[in-house]
């Protein structure tokens, strides 16, 4: 059949000639290839001592962000859960009470926010959907565990720790 792509190569099986039949030239060729590799630079990264940095757009564990004053940004709108193709996110919203203004930025917040890490495919769509810039997949690996229930990460694991932020009333330099 005629080749349409013009890239077809017809493989010819000729009987071996004398040099091919005595094996030796081919063996020396092979030996020279392996010895070249023997002196090549080895690309191995010795892991526990040397750690390779993650790429900039690596998507790891989610974190729920806080704003400049340390308040949770999430307003429990549910867009992340809606956009999630794996349906890994679920939440229960609650209304912000008086006196909780320093904890939650909006009037509504997520009282429970759970991501099932076994379902999550780390596609980053929740990150894109979020109108409040509240969720980012900027963490490390999600590590292995023994029980399925331990893979459902709640707010205790997801929300950014508070101590990174300047206290209220203090001014940043």
């Amino acid at each position: 059949m005629q080749s349409l792509s013009n890239r077809k190569k017809v493989l010819e099986q000729k009987p071996m000639n004398f040099w091919e039949r005595i094996y030796l030239p081919a063996i020396f060729q092979g030996l020279s290839i392996t010895i070249k590799h023997f002196f090549k630079r080895i690309p191995t990264v010795r892991y526990p001592e040397v750690k390779r940095p993650y790429s900039k757009n690596f998507r790891g564990q989610h974190s729920l962000k806080r704003d400049e004053q340390g308040r949770e940004r999430c307003t429990a709108c549910g867009l992340c859960a809606l956009s999630c193709p794996a349906e890994a996110i679920s939440m229960i919203s609650a209304e912000r009470q008086k006196g909780e203004e320093h904890l939650y930025r909006e009037e509504k917040y997520a009282a429970v926010y759970e991501i099932n890490m076994l379902r999550c495919i780390f596609c980053g769509l929740c990150e894109e959907a979020c109108p409040k810039e509240a969720i980012y997949l900027d963490g490390e690996h999600v590590t292995a565990d023994y029980l399925r229930k331990d893979f459902i990460y709640g707010k205790d694991k997801l929300v950014e720790p508070r101590f990174d932020f300047v206290k209220e009333g203090e001014t940043t330099t």
Binding site: I27, T34, I35, I42, P43, T44, R46
Partner: protein, 345 residues
């Protein structure tokens, strides 16, 4: 005098034994290292610096593994198999001349366990015995795969011993002696090495040595893909360890044999022109000999990580249809050249 002789030989035997065990031990590490480097990785480097404790860990592990003797196995032969393999591997090194003589006080110590005048034949006999270890082990395990491996080992070593013997006959026609000490002594300097007069014979011997050691590309008795491990499928614990060990000792001994027969053994270029005393020549000679041996061992590994395994019919074709006719042609050629040389020069 008699006691001193016994002590001398005893010490020598012990040293040779220990050296061949240590070399075999570290060959396992070297093999994995060489494999690693040839495949662009490091190989084992976690146990100690550069992984030098790895063989100890492996050995220790072997000792602590559970020892299983299958219910259907022939128990005495099952135990005898690895025993024969390791013993024949170890006694082969007895006739190899490790160096010239050392003079300590008024005693002259020959660095060779024993110089029997049929040294080459002795080595041949021992190598031929080696296959019994594999055969007994393979048969006694009462397993199809191991029996298949044993059968392959037997036919392979018979086929290749022929070509090996024939290639050696040509060498012996040149050296006119069967004593290894004599053969090595004849090759003093560099131009007298037997490789220059017997290049074809060396090539045949080399190929056959690979086959005799069951090394890749002739490792049909233990090919993993077809026989899931070959003759040693049923072996576990230190018995398996002994089999592997004997393979590496065989490799060491045949490397030593090849460098003694064809590459001048302990001889090195300009050995008598440097004005060194006899003891120094001997010591450097021993070092040179070991460098040659290690070069051969490296070559064994280099080949292993380069070539794929032969198919069984290819192996037999190569042995019977190529190597044996070549070896016979080599004998004829050597004879003709010797006669021409004797008559006209």
């Amino acid at each position: 005098m008699e006691l001193a002789f016994v002590i001398e030989k005893f010490v020598l035997v012990t040293i040779v034994f220990v050296i061949s065990l240590v070399v075999a031990m570290y060959s396992t590490l070297a093999e994995r290292k060489v494999a690693g480097f040839m495949q662009d990785r490091f190989g084992p480097d976690r146990a100690g610096p550069f992984g030098i404790l790895q063989p100890l860990c492996d050995g220790g592990k072997f000792f602590f593994k559970e020892e299983i003797i299958p219910a259907g196995a022939h128990k005495p032969l099952f135990i005898l198999g690895p025993t024969i393999a390791i013993i024949t591997a170890c006694i082969g090194s007895a006739v190899i001349p490790w160096g010239q003589s050392l003079t300590i006080g008024d005693r002259i110590i020959e660095l060779q366990v024993t110089d029997i005048n049929v040294g080459v034949l002795y080595i041949f006999g021992v190598v031929a015995l080696g296959v019994y270890g594999i055969m007994l082990g393979g048969w006694a395990s009462n397993n199809k795969f191991s029996l298949m491996g044993a059968v392959r080992a037997a036919s392979q070593s018979i086929s290749y011993e022929l070509a090996m013997g024939l290639s050696l006959i040509a060498l012996l026609m040149v050296t006119q002696s069967l004593s290894l000490r004599e053969i090595v002594a004849q090759q003093s300097g560099f131009v007298n090495w037997n490789i220059w007069v017997q290049p074809l014979g060396f090539l045949i011997f080399l190929v056959c040595a690979f086959a005799e050691c069951n090394r890749v590309p002739f490792d049909l008795p233990e090919c993993e893909t077809e026989l899931i491990g070959g003759y040693n499928v049923e072996y576990s614990s230190m018995k398996l360890g002994l089999y592997m060990f004997s393979e590496y000792i065989n490799m060491f001994v045949s490397s030593a044999l090849m460098s003694a027969l064809y590459f001048g053994g302990y001889n090195f270029p300009f050995m008598y022109d440097l004005g060194l005393s006899q003891n120094w020549i001997t010591i450097i000679g021993v070092i040179v000999f070991f460098v040659k041996i290690f070069a051969f061992i490296f070559f064994f590994m280099w080949i292993r990580w380069t070539l794929p395994r032969f198919r069984y019919d290819q192996l037999m074709n190569l042995g019977w249809k190529m190597l044996i006719p070549l070896a016979i042609a080599n004998i004829v050629l050597t004879g003709v050249i010797t006669i021409i040389k004797d008559t006209f020069f």
